[in-house]
């Protein structure tokens, strides 16, 4: 019995954190935000060279062939660094779907290019969870029509995997009839898009007709566990920023970190974060070793981390006092990253409903 990260996983964590801190410090993240495009092509190539982009691509296709817990280590480092690089689309959802549904030709065509970072796929997965506003994709005569919202990592994607019912279609970015519209969110570090499809002829289908549903749901479950991991990284950073600020900020002739009112806020954050860390590891590990309960663990982990994350970033802001409310203070980048992650692929209420359903609580 060994419940913890391996030396390799600690090294991976350290590598990704160091890469983000050096290559994409918050000043750079700010500059990308101000430029209105979070995608840094050069950094992306370097990240691919580290083997991170192809973490879930099998080694036989040029990837690192890592497990979901390894991916969770990366996601936590991404949250910690407020990484502006894509992850869930091209590094998680797309390779998982290609691994499970792709024909040998499709795998050969996409997986090596996903691993190298040359190709970036995004998956229109939001409607598989819930349809907001006018969202929904229809098919008639082999053509796709409709709207897909909240496509994660869509900004830098050169093709999209678009579900229609239990079918999964591949639609290149330049396909006639496809409009890709930016969908700006609170979080400036990730790019979501809206797809508008007008009689789009999809390039090809992944998996058999009507046979992609289960794979889509599994991939979404994995993405939830990794969103929980990203939230954990945001919590770590927010607490570290709060403690560091409290140590240097003086009021009443002493550091505010020496006031119990401030210390207790920090202690409450740490007390919430540490068990949540163990839950994230467990939920990610479940996909590697305990598949039977992985969907439930992902729902519990993501809903819990959404609550812990919300508590931590608002409390960390409070520890900062007035400065925490300003744009000049970096903290709000994590506040807003948490705010978006909380909603993606199922907010806490939706996921607790799913947990109840998975356990047969509802009669």
């Amino acid at each position: 019995m060994d419940f913890g990260l391996s030396d390799e996983q600690r090294l991976l964590d350290d590598t990704v954190r160091r890469f983000l801190a050096e290559r994409l410090p918050l000043a750079r993240v700010r500059a990308l935000r101000d430029a209105g495009s979070p995608f840094d092509r050069e950094a992306w190539k370097e990240l691919a060279a580290l083997g991170v982009v192809g973490c879930l691509v099998p080694e036989s296709f040029g990837g690192a062939g890592l497990g979901v817990l390894d991916a969770a280590v990366i996601a936590t480092a991404f949250g910690h660094g407020a990484s502006p690089l894509p992850f869930l689309g091209p590094c998680v959802l797309a390779p998982l779907l290609l691994r499970e549904l792709g024909s040998p030709e499709q795998q050969q065509a996409w997986l090596p290019r996903l691993a190298s970072g040359e190709a970036r796929l995004a998956v229109a997965a939001a409607e598989r969870v819930e349809r907001r506003q006018d969202a929904g994709v229809r098919e008639a005569g082999g053509r796709l029509d409709g709207v897909a919202l909240f496509v994660i990592d869509g900004g830098a994607a050169d093709a999209f995997l678009v579900p229609r019912g239990d079918d999964l279609w591949l639609v290149p970015r330049g396909a006639p009839g496809l409009e890709v519209l930016p969908l700006p969110t609170l979080d400036a570090t990730r790019s979501l898009v809206e797809l508008r499809l007008h009689a789009v002829a999809p390039a090809e289908r992944l998996g058999p007709a009507g046979g992609a549903g289960a794979a889509l749901d599994r991939a979404i479950d994995v993405a939830r566990a990794l969103l929980a991991a990203d939230l954990l990284g945001c919590c770590d950073r927010a607490l570290a920023l709060a403690v560091a600020y409290a140590m240097q900020r003086k009021q009443f002739e002493r550091p505010i970190a020496s006031f119990q009112a401030v210390k207790h806020l920090c202690a409450e954050m740490a007390a919430a974060i540490e068990p949540a860390r163990a839950l994230v590891w467990y939920a990610a590990h479940a996909f590697d070793a305990l598949q039977g309960e992985a969907a439930l663990d992902a729902a519990l982990a993501k809903s819990h981390l959404a609550e812990v994350g919300t508590f931590v970033v608002r409390t960390a802001t409070e520890v900062h006092g007035g400065i925490g409310f300003t744009d000049a203070c970096d903290l709000h980048f994590w506040f807003k990253r948490v705010a978006l992650s909380r909603q993606l692929l199922g907010g806490p209420t939706r996921l607790r409903t799913r947990a109840a359903e998975l356990q047969g609580w509802a009669s």
Partner: protein, 395 residues
């Protein structure tokens, strides 16, 4: 990460399961409130467990234990299997969990040989005499006097929150032997037979309606100086080596898991409007939220167990168990009460009460534990100061 235990551990588990299946009918039943097990109920069972290597495993054989090297995984398997079987596990309590480690570290050879064997056999029940009416969070300000007269210590004063004092044969306690010394330096660690003349034990009835605690009054109580553990004036240091054990005992994941399973069962069985309480989607939402917290604490316990087995420091994670666990247990019981509505507010004597008032008991008792063994606020100071490196409040 590997949650499998490996063949040698699974063999140990299989043997333990077979033992439990065979012995289950003979095992004593655990209760709550005043229904705690006494030494006469427990001792024969404990003796059997020691014989089979399931209790007192790591205590040296010379002092009545198994003499095995500490193995956190074996300890976890033992805890898991006894819990799963619903059978009282290795005896626990302040004697076994706090006094024995203290004696092993600080006791004389004679003290070890005299006190450890009957204690681990659960024949000697101990109580802990630390807290006083005027010394709670600021424990070092205790004033119970231990005046040294030749080879005798004469005790005068009062202890409070002394669980099991009414059944204990001995107390390990802190008394002030050097009234002139500084606060922390004047305290000694003393073993006090509870049948010594001058000791009065008064049950302390709590909000639960039970008397889980006592007050103990000392009037010219004479105890041999040889009962001092460690040197005079070193009691504070000695007591602190084992106070950590208490914090880890409170808020264990096993308690939370068993409360959670009971909670799901209660919500399935409680009828409301001809349906089950669990058919209320709002309750299901709260149930899933608290399930996530419970699972997180189970994972947290596995993480700490691994850190111990690897010989690594768990850092701040090692300081948050009590704060989280006791609050979680309080909330689990509170949700069971909410699920039952007015039925949840019935007195435990009422014929319509559910589960014999179990949920009320846990709800209130866990609130007591949020306060006891180091209040939540003291825990937060410890987390912030030792875990996060924040400075102490200036004096």
């Amino acid at each position: 990460m590997d949650l499998r235990y490996g063949p040698e551990y699974e063999k140990f588990r299989a043997e333990l399961r077979a033992f439990l299946a065979e012995q289950r009918p003979r095992a004593p039943r655990a209760g709550f409130g005043e229904g705690l097990l006494t030494d006469t109920q427990l001792a024969p069972w404990q003796r059997l467990l020691i014989e089979r290597g399931y209790a007192a495993r790591t205590i040296p054989q010379a002092y009545g234990g198994g003499g095995f090297a500490p193995d956190p995984l074996i300890a976890a398997i033992i805890a898991e299997e006894f819990r799963a079987a619903g059978v009282p596990g290795p005896a626990s309590g302040q004697g076994i969990d706090m006094l024995v480690p203290t004696l092993l570290e600080h006791g004389t050879e004679e003290q070890k040989r005299r006190w450890i064997p009957p204690t681990v056999r659960a024949e000697l029940i101990w109580c802990q005499g630390y807290s006083e009416p005027g010394a709670g969070s600021d424990l070092a300000s205790l004033t119970t006097a231990g005046r040294v007269e030749g080879d005798t210590v004469v005790i005068n004063g009062q202890k409070i929150w002394t669980s099991t004092a009414h059944v204990a044969k001995l107390m390990f306690g802190l008394v002030r032997t050097e009234p002139e010394a500084k606060k922390h330096a004047g305290i000694s660690y003393l073993l006090i037979p509870m049948d010594t003349p001058g000791i009065e034990v008064r049950p302390l009835r709590t909000m639960t309606g039970y008397a889980e605690f006592n007050e103990v009054f000392f009037t010219d109580v004479r105890v041999p100086l040889a009962n001092l553990v460690g040197k005079r004036g070193e009691g504070w240091k000695i007591a602190n080596t084992t106070l950590r054990h208490e914090r880890d005992m409170l808020g264990s994941a096993s308690t939370s898991e068993s409360l959670f399973h009971g909670l799901v069962k209660a919500l399935r069985e409680e009828p409301v409007d001809g349906r089950r309480a669990l058919d209320d989607p709002n309750l299901r939402d709260q149930l899933a939220a608290i399930q996530a917290r419970t699972l997180a604490m189970r994972c947290h316990a596995m993480r700490l167990l691994t850190a111990r087995a690897r010989g690594e420091s768990p850092g701040v994670a090692g300081l948050v168990t009590k704060l989280n666990g006791c609050q979680l247990n309080h909330d689990l019981a509170g949700l069971a009460i909410d699920g039952a509505g007015e039925v949840g507010a019935l007195s435990r004597d009422a014929a319509r009460a559910r589960d014999g008032g179990r949920w009320h008991f846990h709800w209130m008792f866990q609130l007591g534990l949020i306060i006891g063994g180091g209040t939540a606020q003291i825990q937060k100071n410890i987390i912030a100061e030792r875990g996060l490196g924040m400075p102490r409040e200036p004096k």
